[in-house]
Symmetry: C2
Subunit: 95 residues, 2 copies
DNA sequence: TAATTTAGTTTATAATATAAACATGTTTAT
DNA sequence: ATAAACATGTTTATATTATAAACTAAATTA
């Protein structure tokens, strides 16, 4: 688009954008925390985290705590850059 | 979402957002003009204009000029309000 | 008059988002 | 000890959405 820069489809999604927004403001976040904050279903969240991870926008670490699985997420440099580009591109549309 | 207001799905779409953005800045716009500015295909544009029209976000007037069909679009008050709400909700996500 | 262009619409397909169903193990109640 | 309920996710099926290809209809040009 001439007047409108393309919007990274990976970020132009309500849930994934919320995830990235959250992760920008913390060092790392647990699956259940993100689930609560975004009010997403576990299934949906799992899928979207996987997509962000496969794109290299976040890092996912799986471990155990109190014998229970624990999924921890962290935004990457690539993710931060992508987010910034997205916000910048979005400006074309907001005025 | 608690921390994140929902984003109007009708506006959270690259092409429809570009259309609305364009229409905000002009009194009215012709189909071909919007097509050029957004670099959308005619079919896609036709579908998306129809959706915006059905939602009452824009008004579409069909006439003829030089014996050829002429489709003219105009944003409505409802559309302006919806756009403003969308931008406002989006702020939750951008920081 | 046949091919091309203009201005779109309709329909088929591809991509995406989402939730329902499932898996695996843990804790609690009986 | 065993069953029921809970925790933490993943996988898969479905619904929604976006998009382009195919089509229509009239006008213009060769």
């Amino acid at each position: 688009m001439s007047d409108f820069k393309p919007l990274d489809p990976l970020l132009h999604s309500q849930l994934r954008l919320a995830i990235m927004s959250l992760l920008l403001s913390v060092k790392s976040a647990e699956f259940t925390f993100i689930k609560e904050k975004t009010e997403a279903t576990a299934g949906n969240l799992s899928v979207q985290l996987d997509k962000l991870s496969k794109a290299g926008y976040i890092e996912i670490e799986k471990s155990f705590r109190d014998k229970k699985p624990l999924t921890t997420c962290k935004i990457t440099k690539k993710g931060i850059t992508a987010f910034e580009s997205y916000v910048n591109a979005l400006k074309d549309y907001l005025n």
